[in-house]
């Protein structure tokens, strides 16, 4: 089975979020980039598990520049066979999805996995766009994925509950919590990642559908009002009269 795992870089989850250039650009000053957790913990690890039980290959793909190679090596250290970087600045989700679809079109993947969203843009767009472009079925927010022959059985998030679905490969899946357990790369993996193939392919010409013009950060909260732990009637009264939420 040929598995493609799409990864994105994202700022470390503890990064300070600030903006520069008249609030039009994310301030990368002091920001450490990691593999987007949904892509790494769920999509990549489940891809590797399927390869380990069913055989095949796992290819990592990302859209980015040479400075993103360190993030790709981090993902390779966890265990994929090879990586592909489509050489372009990241733009909107459509641009990214069309680059990946263009690459995937000529490479016959059985399964294309992504995280359910990135933790920086939270769009949940790329996987569905790839699926439409390649005319493949798409299962979003999957929490479980089993493959038997050419048939996939999945659990997916559904209205606070879970839905079980079946689909034939090839298939695009966006992966959510529950899909797999995070793997910590070991020293052998980190060493091996240095020499695994990382192919750079040129970008296709694609328009941008949307663009982020400016950013703002939320106003800070006013000081927390402390309530006597013995006086829960006071809290209920405040929630009713002051906060007006009950």
């Amino acid at each position: 089975m040929k598995i493609l795992v799409c990864i994105s870089k994202s700022p470390d989850t503890t990064s300070k979020i600030a903006f520069t250039d008249g609030n039009s650009k994310f301030d990368e000053n002091g920001v450490q980039y990691i593999v987007n957790p949904y892509d790494e913990w769920y999509a990549l690890v489940r891809g590797l598990e399927l390869k380990e039980t069913l055989g095949g290959t796992v290819t990592i793909v990302t859209v980015g520049r040479v400075e993103d190679d360190s993030v790709i090596r981090k993902a390779l250290a966890i265990g994929a066979d090879e990586a592909v970087r489509i050489d372009a600045d990241t733009k909107d989700a459509y641009y990214t999805a069309m680059q990946i679809a263009e690459y995937a079109k000529s490479n016959g993947f059985d399964l294309i996995l992504t995280g359910k969203e990135t933790i920086n843009y939270n769009g949940s767009q790329v996987a569905g766009m790839i699926a439409e472009s390649l005319n493949m079925p798409f299962v979003s927010l999957a929490t479980k994925l089993e493959v038997s022959g050419t048939k996939a059985t999945l659990d997916k998030e559904y209205l606070g509950g879970i839905q079980t679905v079946e689909a034939e490969l090839p298939l695009v899946v966006s992966c959510a919590k529950g899909m797999a357990e995070q793997r910590i790369p070991n020293m052998r993996g980190i060493m091996a990642a240095r020499t695994k193939p990382l192919t750079v392919v040129p970008a296709a010409s694609v328009e941008e559908f949307t663009s982020f013009e400016t950013y703002t950060t939320p106003a800070g909260k006013s000081a927390c009002k402390m309530i006597d732990p013995n006086n829960m009637d006071e809290l209920v009264a405040l929630l009713h009269n002051e906060a007006k939420v009950i």
Binding site: Y94, V139, I162, D233, V236
Partner: protein, 313 residues
């Protein structure tokens, strides 16, 4: 201007649908498209929030992503809509990106406000730690509205409901089972949420969390460690890598408030934190804080809520 709003009515028409129609009404003349066997009266009631008519393909139940994409695309063509609105739920995440490619329409996901004077749309980014203002460069636009971002507004009366053939084709993704948490309120839609973390010491102590949730009519949630060690199911995990929620009230007991947890709940209107540790970072993000033991405070709060409910009925 003709606006199309897609409503997922598989589990009844609720607040998310009213919000999406209200949002559409601010932009133009709203047609709703939906699918499945939905009671006609509740569809007609969408007129109260500003819908002019509802198109329903009642033959299309348990539709997959490609069928729904076809349904919405065909409905948009039939009413000449250049703006399509979804509520940003699991169905929107499944369908809106496909539709974006099919219609060559820019997709704005996680919108939290109506388009500004310059046409940009405000969205949640960086897991709730920032907002972005997005410009759409295409003629046709798709906006996926984050639940609980705007208040539903009543502006009309019941509207007509027409059968619509979505020409959706066959399902390639087949639903074999659906498990809804029994009798519970789905977490992503809940207006009130009671959540607890490792401070509760074990799954056997969740009864007091459920008691408070029941008294309030709230959904229950938990922190990541609690889901990871299996005290609670994964779908209850709120935070950066779990579910992001925006309830009116979020009550957190025995959760320290790590930045990753806050990312999933900082859209909440009011946050109440119960913790024994005065240094817990969650107090900095809270509106009301209780420095105390959840084992004592939660039952006390449940009693206070019951007393309040009894005197208000």
């Amino acid at each position: 201007m003709s606006i199309l709003v897609y409503i997922n009515g598989n589990h009844g028409i609720g607040k998310n649908a009213f919000e999406a129609v209200t949002y559409g009404k601010k932009l133009g003349d709203v047609t709703v498209v939906t699918n499945g066997a939905i009671d006609e009266g509740s569809l007609a009631s969408l007129g109260v929030y500003g819908a002019s008519k509802v198109l329903v393909d009642s033959t299309l139940a348990n539709a997959d992503d490609q069928q729904l994409t076809n349904l919405v695309a065909n409905a948009a063509a039939s009413v000449g809509a250049k703006t399509i609105i979804f509520s940003h739920d699991h169905v929107a995440k499944n369908v809106a990106p496909r539709l974006s490619v099919k219609l060559k329409a820019g997709l704005v996901s996680g919108a939290i406000a109506a388009p500004a004077a310059d046409g940009t749309i405000k969205v949640n980014v960086f897991s709730g730690k920032a907002f972005g203002n997005v410009k759409v460069n295409t003629d046709t636009k798709i906006i996926s509205l984050l639940p609980n971002s705007i208040q539903p507004e009543e502006s009309g009366s019941a509207c007509s409901v027409e059968q619509f053939s979505g020409n959706a084709g066959d399902a390639k993704v087949k639903v074999t089972a659906t498990k809804q948490p029994e009798g519970d309120i789905p977490l992503p839609e809940a207006e009130l949420v009671v959540s607890a973390g490792r401070g509760l010491k074990g799954p056997e102590n969740w009864g007091m969390v459920e008691d408070l949730a029941k008294a309030l009519g709230a959904a229950t949630a938990c922190s990541r460690p609690v889901a990871d060690i299996g005290w609670r199911p994964h779908h209850e995990h709120v935070g950066q890598t779990g579910v992001a929620i925006r309830p009116n009230l979020y009550i957190a007991a025995g959760i320290s408030g790590a930045i990753q947890h806050l990312a999933g709940v900082n859209g909440s209107k009011v946050i109440v934190v119960i913790n024994t540790d005065a240094e817990a970072p969650f107090f900095k993000a809270a509106d009301y804080g209780i420095l105390g033991d959840a084992f004592e405070v939660l039952p006390r709060l449940t009693e206070a809520v019951k007393k309040f409910k009894a005197s208000n009925n």
